[in-house]
Amino acid sequence: MRIKNLSTSYFTDDGIVKAVYDVSLDLSAGQTIGIVGESGCGKSTLGKSIMRLIRPPGKITNGEIIFNHQDILKMDEKKIREIRGGDIAMIFQDPMSSLNPVFTIGSQIGETIKLHQKIKNKHELEEKVVAILEKVGISDALRRLSEYPHQFSGGMRQRVMIAMALSCNPKFLIADEPTTSLDVTIQAQILDLIGNLKKEFNSAIMLITHNIAVVAEFCDYVAVMYAGKIIEYSNTHNIFKNPKHPYTRAILGSLPRIDSTLEELTTIPGIVPSLINLPAGCVFNPRCSEKITICSEINPKYVEIEPEHYTSCHLYKEIKE
């Protein structure tokens, strides 16, 4: 998948909210990318934009999303519906909001399979649903087919969501905060499950999360977002061991760890800017401890500063060809 210069804005009464601005990313089969950032940075909007799930007053205002040699943004509704849930699937944070409470688990997963794999035979459908439920670790699957979402725990519901997402062997899976509402031991189970399934299906995964620690173990690449922009991108090792952007460094320094006690955690003064009234120059400059004069005047370009390491920051120079 190749995302180029994607921008999505919300046109509200108070002004235009630039939720995602000029984002470019590549992702290949079998790779995992973590999109990290705090509330309002645009990561969820990014995920939804890829699936074309943006509704008014939101609108994708610019860019291309090339998938299988076609631009998703130029596809008609019919084609998009074929892809959505088929080649590209999405898991959301709160399973209850994406599972219909009045339909059984079996019928909801069945619906997805019926739509995308065009299976009409009831028996065959049921077999497939049981198989996928067992694959995501739900024991006693045959009996549980006729149960309703409220009869499942949070962790189980998330497994059902994953089952639905994987039921059609997607090439690309977007997981938006898949474990945020779960207990940490259940989170470990779910991430373990997604990791195993990734190996089996060779799907590319985009993991959207505010939990940066999760990304360290799970992802190959990391994109850090702030106020709608990607301010740093590289492989996981670089981001954690060799972070360049002052925001990335501050965030990493603010994380409490279970393997050590720090005297004081790094803090970032001020608050995230309004996406309607972004500051002049670099969006992070008012809060940046390393800013120089040019930072409040000119928006830094997003460039490659080391092999496979991109950032938008005046402190760094683009590598020469």
Binding site: S153, G155, D183, D192, A213, T236, P256, R257, T267
Partner: protein
Amino acid sequence: MNRTVARVSAIDDVSFKIYEGESLGLVGESGCGKTTLGRCILHLIEPTDGEIIYNNKSLKSLNKKEMKDFRRQSSIIFQDPFLSLHPRMTVGEIIGEPHVIHGTARGKEKEKKITEWLQKVGLNPYHIYRYPHQFSGGQKQRIGIARAMILNPKFVIADEPVAALDVSVRASIINLMKTFQKQYNITILFISHDIAVVRQICNRIIVMYLGKIFETAKVPELFDEPLHPYTKALLSSVPIPDPDVKKERIILEGDVPTPINPPTGCRFHPRCFERMPICSEVEPKKIEINENHSVFCHLYK
């Protein structure tokens, strides 16, 4: 028509001490009972059985005046900054409310204390005229802290005070609480599901599971030498923000059982990777490994 359908035991036969000046962490996942425990300690909920003894007196035995004294000396910081601040009260009124309730300061003197605490939590004096909705999550939490601190309490319970905040904001609130604890020598009970945060603030930790205490230890020791299999699993599931650290992850099977029908014997036995036959029959008693470390598990003697 009232009919008891089931008895949900949120906390079951829990005993522990909180020492003056210490920062005690209470960790556990959903349904472990830590929030209920916090509220019982402050007598916000009445325990069904058992006692809370404060300064050698049982809370049940306190008369009205003594109870008021207790309330003045203790306070709570809540998790949700949105829900814990009254939307129709100004920040000044919110922070000053404890003084109004206890009649401990009035007029100019009260205003002075409010402004003092606003500044101590890093906000501006002119904020006293503003309403909660005009502040960010982190700022609201600072207001909650100022309110909890204004009567100079001896004992503060913080119930998931940073869970609803962004990462960078959490750090500033954690730093703030650590500073206050040292400065004012407050005893803190820090309730959290986030064990990494607890490591930063606390010197002692209690691990709870399904209404029971499983392990208690001083901070570095719990992390360096966890004893209870659940503690080991809990620690191993916390992600570390370092790709070079290769973890032996213990993946627990199944979900946390319902507190309505807890498992027999040790409540963790159905999911325990080190279980023995006795575990499903007999509830483990407390074993003191050393003066600072105790565990409830049949693996130890």
